[in-house]
């Protein structure tokens, strides 16, 4: 989880070049299993020179693998706050950018420390961008209620190619490879083995591949089409496909609004069964490893008034977003996000 967040930190650092700004967001997550999470986070981006940019992010949430389970055993509520902080520095060398960064997150039952380095280069008058990166993570799950600490090491590599084809067409292809070694069983979720509820046992090594293809297409009348497709496969035989389709539109000079539909489908792992008998080597009660389909609908609006507003400087914007997620496992969640972007000098 941490790795993709760091990758996105790097991505934002690259895009926001020469845009000093502060993003403050507040997320309210609620699902049908009883998890309610309020998460503030802050993203700060600052250029120290025309070649060096610093990006710092700090957030608090409780959305983790543990939170879902806390709600089951602690229906009166359980605090499982997660604090996450990341920082990256990007330096330009001609048409290339080099980024070095890291992330640290800590919650009651899990600590993750990640280091990341990435390179990107613009070719062909910035019509083509190639990027590659590597991240290494040391993670420490803490079992419950025994408090025994396990360990996990994750290595992640990605490469992406972005191509502008016309004035209004850009595509991106990406490939990511992730290898996790160490404790990977969910210590909170149980499954039935010989009619006894038992904590699962997952393999200690997982190799994960993800390939993506994305399109952004400008349409007439200040409307934009977004298409994202991802195909995922791992050596636990979990395969998934994700397709997201979105449309955005400019309403005048101050409002951008749009919606996205995302469809997700995954198979279960090779060792998944609704219940087990005998002496299985691997078994799991982790719903993330079950087969299921999911769909979500998101609506968003961004307002950028022409002048200063709410004591914020001109150029500030306000964002509101709501997502409704539903899966065939019965899981339903609603996520509301409100954000403010403040340009800095």
């Amino acid at each position: 989880m941490a790795l993709t967040s760091v990758v996105l930190v790097v991505a934002a650092a690259g895009y926001n070049w020469a845009q000093n700004q502060l993003d403050l967001s507040f997320h309210a997550f609620q699902d049908k299993r009883g998890v309610t999470v309020l998460s503030p986070d802050a993203d700060f981006s600052k250029d120290f020179s025309d070649r060096t940019n610093l990006k710092v992010k700090f957030g608090v949430d409780s959305i983790s693998a543990a939170s879902n389970s806390c709600a089951r055993c602690h229906p009166d509520g359980a605090n499982n706050g997660r604090v996450v902080g990341s920082a990256s520095v990007t330096r330009k060398y001609g048409d290339s950018k080099v980024t070095v960064g890291g992330e640290f997150s800590k919650e009651m039952f899990y600590t993750a420390t990640t280091g990341l380095a990435s390179i990107s280069r613009d070719l062909n008058n910035a019509n083509t961008t190639v990027a590659a990166g590597f991240a290494f993570s040391l993670n420490q799950p803490v079992l419950h209620p025994s408090r025994q600490t396990e360990s996990q090491r994750s290595m992640d590599t990605y490469v992406s190619l972005t191509q502008s084809w016309t004035k209004g067409t850009v595509t991106q292809f990406g490939y990511e490879l992730n290898q996790i070694n160490g404790y990977q069983t969910n210590p909170f979720l149980r499954t039935s083995v010989n009619s006894v509820l038992t904590t699962g046992n997952s393999p200690d090594a997982r190799t994960r591949h993800a390939v993506s293809a994305r399109l952004r297409q400008a349409l007439p009348a200040e409307t934009f089409l977004e298409v994202d497709y991802r195909r995922y496969h791992d050596n636990w035989s979990l395969n998934s496909s994700t397709l997201a389709l979105g449309l955005s539109h400019h309403f005048g000079d101050t409002i951008v609004a749009g919606g996205t539909y995302r469809y997700y489908t995954q198979t279960g792992t090779y060792f998944y069964k609704p219940s087990y008998t005998g002496s299985p080597t691997y078994f799991t009660g982790d719903f993330r490893l079950f087969p299921f389909d999911a769909g979500s609908v998101t609506g968003h609006i961004e307002l950028t008034p022409k002048g200063p507003f709410l004591n914020m400087p001109a150029g500030s914007s306000l964002t509101l977003e709501y997502e409704r997620y539903r899966s065939t496992t019965g899981f339903v969640a609603g996520i509301f996000t409100g954000g403010i972007r403040i340009p800095l000098k």
Binding site: N125, Q172, G174
Partner: protein, 73 residues
């Protein structure tokens, strides 16, 4: 790596190398490409959304970084 993934990746590399030799969009024509709706992962909300999805689904990653935009120097 799954076969479909190998094919997509190979095509992407070939396309990228082929296109490296010919300019497509002129630097002064990148106004639309610089629009926030055309840039991949341009919002601070994306990171949060990805985080909670990976805590509830079995997959991860795959989406690249950077590229597109105004291409300014």
């Amino acid at each position: 790596m799954p076969r479909v993934g190998r094919v997509i990746f190979a095509l992407a590399v070939v396309a990228g190398l082929a296109s490296a030799g010919c300019a497509t969009v002129k630097p002064w024509q990148r106004g639309l490409l610089a629009d926030s709706c055309m840039v991949f992962d341009s919002s601070a909300e994306t990171s949060y959304m990805t985080h909670w999805q990976e805590a509830r689904e079995g997959s991860m990653g795959g989406f690249g970084v950077q590229g597109g935009g105004c291409g300014c120097k």
